[in-house]
């Protein structure tokens, strides 16, 4: 849209409506029959698309915490409001019946998931990790060098996490002595 941004267009439309009374005829009935834009009173929050590494800006529109619309962020200089087919479909990453919404656990040999609480999961994961680590941790190698490593635990992923989350993965795993640390960048 050369020379006329989406926002400017909306502002101009508003100005046109304000001038309606001076037109000599009323636009009231037309206005009444035009559905209000979904995003008219929405809160805008900006984000960055979750798919490729383009870093395209996304705007989310929410009304009372409810997601009503997602579209390209016209202010972001990288994509200037445009999105590809994936970026344009990001609304469905949030509004989606396929999402996993419960903590799921599959016991050894079981054919089913079962629902668990976060507390139960964290306790069990802590226990399993400590057990695997304690059984395998090498404090000194054969030459007497302090190595503090375990080769019995591995960490995979993930390049869709935010930087701060990734930093914590890297830090926690190395604090545990894990050397099998990999993610999508390798493959």
């Amino acid at each position: 849209m050369s020379g006329l941004s989406r926002r400017r267009f909306l502002q101009l439309s508003g100005a046109t409506a304000a001038m309606a009374t001076s037109l000599g005829f009323s636009l009231d009935s037309l206005e009444a029959s035009t559905p209000q834009l979904r995003i008219a009173n929405a809160k805008e929050t900006t984000s960055i698309c979750c798919f490729c590494s383009g870093g395209c800006g996304i705007i989310c529109h929410t009304v009372n915490g409810e997601l009503v619309n997602v579209e390209g962020d016209p202010d972001n200089p990288v994509n200037r409001g445009s999105n590809c087919s994936k970026g344009a479909a990001t609304f469905q990453t949030a509004k989606n019946d396929e999402r996993v919404t419960k903590v799921l656990y599959r016991a050894p040999g079981s054919a089913e998931w079962e629902e668990k609480s976060w507390d139960w999961a964290f306790e069990r994961i802590g226990e399993l990790t400590a057990k695997a680590r304690d059984a395998s941790i090498v404090h000194r190698n054969d030459d007497g060098v302090i190595v503090n490593r375990t080769e019995a635990i591995a960490s995979l992923g993930s390049s869709i996490l935010n930087n701060e989350d990734l930093y914590l993965v890297s830090k926690l795993m190395r604090g545990l002595g894990v050397v099998n640390i990999e993610h999508q960048a390798r493959i």
């Binding site: 490729c52 990453t93 701060e164």
Partner: protein, 789 residues
Amino acid sequence: MTNHWIDFKNTDCALIIGSNAAENHPVSFTWLMEAKVKRGAKIIHVDPRFTRTSARSDLYAPMRSGTDIPFFGGLFNYIFETGRYHHDYVLHYTNAAHIVHDDYDFQEGLFTGYDEEKRTYADRSSWAYKTDAEGKPLKDMTLQDPRCVFQMMKKHYERYDIDTVCSITGMPKEKFLQVAEMFTETASPDKTGTILYAMGQTQHTVGSQNTRALSMLQLLLGNVGRPGGGVNALRGHSNVQGSTDMACLFHIIPGYMPAPNDGDHVDLAAYNATTPKGGFWTNRPKFIASLLKAWWGDQANLDNDLGYHYLPKQKKGANHSHIALFEDMMAGKIKGLFNWGQNPVVSGPNTNHEAKALEELEWMVQLDPFENETAAFWKRPGVNPSDVKTEVFLLPVTTFLEKEGSVTHSGRLIQYRWKAIEGPGQTKQESWIIDHIARSIKSHYEGSNKPEDEPIKYLTWDYGSSDDLSIFVDAVAREINGKDLRTGKQLPGFGALQDDGTTACGNWIYSGMYTEEGNHAKRREKEDPSGLGLYLKWGYAWPLNRRIIYNRANCDPSGKPWSEDKRTIWWDETQERWVGYDVPDFAPTRSPQDPGGTDPFIMLPEGQARFFGVNSMNEGPFPEHYEPYESPVENILSKVQYNPAIRIWESNKRGEASEFPIVCSTWRVCEHWHTGAISRNLPWLAELMPALFVEMSPTLARERGISHGEIVEITSARGAIKAVAMVTERIQKLDVQGKTIEQVGLTWHFGYQGLVKGDITNILTPHVGDANTTIPEYKAFLVDVRKVK
């Protein structure tokens, strides 16, 4: 990327090779089309297949997958024969003038120092410069000495004449010449050319040398460090740059420092003794000291080596890369896996093998918004769940609109994601989950007195409650940037880091992102006085907000921009400093006349970019052509058939051309994303692209009696899959070394979970990787295709 997405608008010519940019990174084409319309820029696409990218290019040249080095070698040869290179740039900013070591040689496809038994270059002492008595490299600034890098490179690529390279690549000669002529126009100092590449370059057994080769081309043409130029990897995921920077990889620790091993890095002094002797990396002791202070706080002191012994030391020479990791898993060495969001059952090479390896785990913790193939590996087709003893946790996570924090795009730009909505049900952001897992694990070690438990017991974890994520994530971001421990103030940048334990910094390359002024990743100011699309106040680009790295090379040796309409920085005589629109990637007051004043490549000891790799690559100083691990033809450039330095795992089956005569590659479509773990669960995208298909030429289809739209079987030495046949003119048979070679290609977005399903393409791919990175060879392997009766 050395440059960034918007910068494509500044180019005069874009060479896209090993990438379908228009389809897989559409934002790149926003800017390339602007360059085309506004600057009259040309776009060249070199690829095995005519794609959406080719359709928008000025020139398309086909090639056989896996023959990039012959293509680039042919261009080098063309450049040396025609003299179409940027002479002053090559002379001053590269190692072209350096004299190579007397013992360096190349014979019959092998460089000096090869140990055939160990399949490795055991002695690399000759992959070096010849030095004077003081150890200073000798140079010949006339570039005439037969042992100077320029002449050695010229000689090395004499064998890559047009007839030979076109015979290997299958590229028609006239196409090769058109590409060569068009792209080498950018050797002119007032022009710049860019290269865009993706996994089509890297996913080969010679992937690293492919990217070296294209970098060398950019150096010959004087295109690095300049607007509209550079070496630009179009990376995959939204934050794969950030995950690499944060070192979720076995071989590095945050900020691209080497992960310590128990041979070379036994203590901090030994680690620091491996610090490069010149260039900016000489500051590495400050980076490691500050990392140790960030991770172990008060327990890291000068009297205990700053807690260096807490960092895990790998076995010297160990390979824990993806392929090796899964081989170790298969061997039962790995008991537990944290999977923070990856789907290797679809994305891993030889994935039947990798899925089977998961069964050897005692437990797996997976975080994902959807139940993908890896989460469901224990109930995959053909497997009885009762036979799988692995304990599996699937923890529900939020998706990006529900998250708080920053991501780094391919051009190193860190931008912020503000949380817009709450996630559904029990979903939580990874930070919250990692925080709780960390606390749970740490609780086991609170009372321990064992020395081996100190690293986890003392690991700092002071971010407050993760129940308020905006505060928690903020505290993590502050730690990443680092602070001065004497004043408690955020550091202004990595220049302030110290090696004496007075600074703490989680990742030195991000230092400067979050200063006392605040978190610069959140900035949204749109000033661009340069008109070049630099936007210095939009987000924050590492390092130090430089938007185009090595930008000293955008000026001639005297400090004046090569081109007036592409000015980024320049030397200001009156202020006696580098000034301009971008942040100088150079010491700000080092004048062009100062020692090192004409050395733009500050991360290298010699300050000059390397045509001749000084002991940096595992298969030699110059990129040399070797055929893919599986190839339909013999290597006609030497007797060495495939990369002599790759590791071969015994489990891997190698297909022969007699049984599998067709070259196969894998690729993606715009409507899906990688394994489809997300996109196959979005109804709009699932409907747009509902099935796996295999693209093949009309000639192959006729030969095999295959019709467009029917289901066919594709087989390799690893397995068999079915896909819909797409018979298309987009792929053409090639004439290679006197033989007709057919190529096919598959998308790899499908699996047995999700709204739309299909066979897993990576069942076909080999468990073999590049000699430096071990990235799998997904892009060139052998298959056969047949009708399904």
